[in-house]
């Protein structure tokens, strides 16, 4: 997972920062529980029971998620993803943009530096938009979706997101080319 991150800081620094944030989030939520417990002990106990039951239900999904993360770390490296999203990739470019979006981990803004570099080196607007849109599909998290929504819904979800990522790319390219044509016309 960390190998797929585009951030330019050292991976130890990045992981340390991310870990601190995650633990701080968990501690904040526990603090919130503590606050609720003081106000309404019965409610917080009921919520905690709900949490334990949900956690037990989700244990198999956690196992599958770990397995998928392991496979990603084995086969998907950040430089490989970046190299394949070039300007002249054509049909392959679409595949790699969408695949890269699906494989990209972490918050969207972590990917902005890499995407800005690719854009400055001639990456098509359509591929950029497709990358950002296809991030809605997260393969390691699909076990959770399968668990909650079922296989038919999950397949429909993935297919729709991928189709709409193409539509988003094409429309965004049309919008940006129209705006640049307008700028040229204004200058003339």
């Amino acid at each position: 997972m960390s190998s797929a991150s585009p951030d330019h800081r050292s991976s130890a620094e990045r992981n340390g920062h991310r870990n601190r944030g995650s633990w701080f989030f968990l501690l904040s939520v526990l603090g919130l529980y503590l606050g609720v417990h003081f106000i309404n002990p019965g409610y917080s106990a009921a919520c905690f029971d709900y949490f334990i039951n949900a956690l037990i239900r989700l244990l198999p999904a956690f196992g599958i998620m770990f397995l998928l993360l392991w496979l990603f770390n084995l086969f998907a490296a950040a430089p490989r993803i970046a190299g394949l999203l070039g300007r002249y990739a054509g049909f392959k470019g679409w595949l790699f943009a969408m695949g890269g979006g699906i494989l990209s981990m972490g918050p969207m803004y972590l990917w902005y530096p890499l995407l800005r570099d690719l854009k400055s080196k001639g990456m098509r607007t359509s591929l950029l938009a497709a990358f950002l849109y296809s991030r809605a599909v997260k393969i390691p998290m699909l076990p959770f979706m399968l668990h909650y929504f079922g296989s038919v819904y999950t397949i429909l979800f993935v297919v729709h997101v991928l189709l709409f990522s193409i539509a988003s790319g094409l429309l965004m390219e049309r919008i940006s080319s129209a705006s640049s044509e307008n700028r040229v016309a204004d200058n003339e």
């Binding site: 633990w23 529980y33 993360l69 392991w70 972490g106 800005r116 959770f144 705006s179």
Partner: protein, 155 residues
Amino acid sequence: MRKHHLIKADRFNVLPRRLLNSARQAGLGFISLLPIMLGTLLLTSLIIPILPQLFEGGLFGQHPVIDALTGAGIGSIAAGQPMISYLLGGELLDSGVDLIAVTALVVAWVTVGVIQLPMEALVFGSRFAFCRNLLSFLFSLAIAFMISGILHVFG
């Protein structure tokens, strides 16, 4: 000859090392995600019991279009990992929220970023950022209705 054997033995050593390194990285990634997942699940568990009151208050459970708009609106404002939207969406669905609203929320959660909009505008230009987010918001509604419609017809 001996050198050839050494190279061959080296190749045999590389694969287990790569597998172990990947497992280690996956483990570290998993551990770094674990507090977020547990925290999200805890937070969701704290919200779920008050959902019926929210229904009574009129947040969800109205017209499908309003539900979808509410879901997409919440998803657009919320900034977080896709995993959180899957977990929250699943728990909302289990507690009776309509599939249209949940799908709109899940799709908008990742594709629309109102909080990140200024940053996106700085990096890619304001026109790109605004149009992309607006399109993504509309697409989240379209996807929600399409999936729900397909499931309604064929399910």
